[in-house]
């Protein structure tokens, strides 16, 4: 019954008009960028003076850019995989067992979200300089897992909370080991949320500029 009263309401219509105008303006730069990529001249103007695919060929000819794209991709895949494995394991522990200090541990695990990206970046820079770690990939991997893990935990956790624990109990009651009940009952129900979590982690990692910029010389990952 939600839409019944709302749809003919002039205020909702007004809100919808505002929403479309604002979102059109906010999304416009993306279209401009996408179209400018097919620009034929050296001058970056919109609308372009002509059309060409030369900039894409140009990218392919710049080994640093291709390498950076590959590095970003590997980093995003590996860090997402780690975050999601950690997320599944921690979410199960946080939702399937009641124990003292559970909310505290939850807040602790979510804490990287509260810290601004610049401060995250600086912290890791200072930390790695102090420890003397000169492994760019491992340093960045640590940073990206910390950044993506809270997203994975939040998404997976909320799907586990919405599940009916009786189903697992039934499986155990029928003689399955708790490990078996996890893989046969819980895991299949978790699958949609895993895709969401993978998407979030991947985008957050692949897109990260601010914190990553602290740990790299310019150009190591694609956004930088």
């Amino acid at each position: 019954m939600r839409t019944g009263a709302g749809s003919r309401d002039p205020l909702t219509t007004l809100a919808t008009v505002i929403a479309f105008v604002v979102l059109f303006v906010a999304t416009f730069p993306l279209f401009v960028t996408a179209i400018t990529a097919f620009n034929a001249t050296n001058e970056t103007v919109f609308p372009p003076n002509g059309w060409s695919l030369r900039w894409f060929r140009n990218i392919a000819r710049q080994p640093e850019l291709v390498q950076a794209a590959g590095f970003s991709l590997v980093l995003a895949v590996v860090s997402s995989a780690i975050s999601i494995s950690l997320g599944v394991v921690s979410a199960v522990a946080l939702t399937r067992r009641k124990f003292f200090g559970r909310d505290l541990i939850d807040a602790f695990l979510m804490s990287p979200l509260l810290v601004p990206q610049v401060i995250l970046g600086l912290s890791f820079l200072v930390f790695f300089v102090r420890v003397g770690s000169r492994q760019p990939f491992l340093n960045l991997l640590f940073l990206h897992v910390v950044i993506t893990f809270p997203y994975a935990l939040r998404v997976i956790r909320s799907s586990l909370t919405r599940m009916n624990p009786k189903l697992e109990e039934a499986a155990v009651g029928l003689g399955a080991s708790s490990l078996k009940s996890f893989f046969l009952v819980t895991f299949p129900q978790m699958r949609p949320s895993l895709f969401v979590a993978i998407f979030f982690c991947f985008v957050v990692s692949f897109d990260n500029f601010t914190a990553t910029a602290f740990l790299t010389v310019s150009g190591a990952t694609l956004p930088v």
Binding site: R2, G4, G6, S7, D9, P10, L11, T12, A15, T16, I18, A19, F20, V22, L23, A26, T27, F28, P29, L30, V32, T33, T36, V45, F46, L86, V89, S90, V92, A93, R97, F99, I105, F108, L109, S111, P112, L114, V115, P116, Q117, V118, I119, L120, L122, S123, F124, L125, V126, F127, R130, F142, V145, V146, F149, F209, T210, A213, F214, P223
Partner: protein, 276 residues
């Protein structure tokens, strides 16, 4: 006892990860209060707080984050209303636009704004072409450009939490007000708006902290002419290797962000208490 142990084992890797992160964060905080010889010293805070340029940048970052948050609220609330109340097609279109906005690569988004706001950008070509102005108007590399970029980037952070709360508020309340003779606007302002305050507050926190510590938007759209506190931290750490000053700026930034979070949480509790 066995399940306790299993639990600990399950949580151990994640706890270790976050402990590693907090160690790194603590090392920054420690670095801000020691000098180069390792003795306790507040020198870096003195040089930050005593320097008029840094103080201007800090205050300007708070101010810009404040008014961008207000603008996002004013623009975002109608969007959330439209999202929660219009037909399914319209609602999914809005969600799609917001998701594109939220998930598109941040650097690309800001680059798009540079193409629009620059001297040779879309807006200036239209203005000059139509004869409204004779020479291009300065729309970026200044506060205006940074504010526009931040508003666009932060908008989804405001809309999503408000929409999440609006979804849970039954329209029946407003219908009751309408049937008792209230106008639509009055019903919205006196019934729905107060009920959605928790969503507004979480949107406000996310938006404020995001804008206050922004680095990329002022970096690109401010172009070095208009800096915010995030740029100071980066410059000091990466370009000048002045880690202690960077650490002091970071500590001050963190304290202000956490203060904002606590203040808004308190406001939200006070509000919930007042309603009871």
């Amino acid at each position: 006892m066995k399940s306790r142990l299993g639990l600990l084992l399950l949580l151990l890797p994640a706890l270790g990860l976050i402990a590693g992160f907090l160690t790194a964060l603590t090392s920054v905080l420690v670095m801000s209060v020691v000098d180069s010889s390792g003795a306790l010293s507040l020198e870096s805070y003195r040089s930050f707080l005593g320097d008029e340029r840094y103080m201007t940048i800090l205050l300007r970052s708070v101010w810009i984050a404040f008014y961008v948050t207000v603008i996002c609220l004013v623009l975002g609330y109608p969007i959330a209303i439209a999202m929660s109340r219009s037909s399914r097609t319209v609602a999914s279109l809005i969600t799609l636009a917001l998701a594109i906005q939220f998930f598109s690569i941040y650097v690309v988004k800001m680059y798009g704004w540079m193409l629009i706001l620059g001297n040779n950008g879309v807006v200036n070509r239209m203005l000059v072409g139509s004869g409204l102005v004779s020479s291009p108007v300065k729309l970026m590399y200044n506060e205006l450009g940074v504010a526009i970029g931040l508003t666009a980037a932060a908008l989804p952070l405001m809309v999503f939490p408000i929409n999440a709360v609006l979804q849970t508020i039954s329209l029946r309340y407003e219908e009751a007000a309408l049937s008792l003779g209230a106008g639509r606007l009055r019903a919205l302002l006196t019934i729905t708006l107060p009920l959605s305050v928790p969503g507004i507050l979480s949107g406000v926190i996310l938006t404020f902290v995001f804008c206050f510590a922004a680095y990329l938007t002022p970096g690109l759209l401010g172009g070095g002419f208009f800096k915010m506190i995030g740029n100071v931290i980066y410059e000091q750490a990466v370009a000048r290797f002045n880690y202690s000053l960077a650490a002091a700026s970071a500590a001050i930034t963190l304290v202000i962000s956490l203060f904002a979070v606590v203040a808004v949480n308190k406001a939200s509790q006070a509000f919930a208490g007042g309603r009871r």
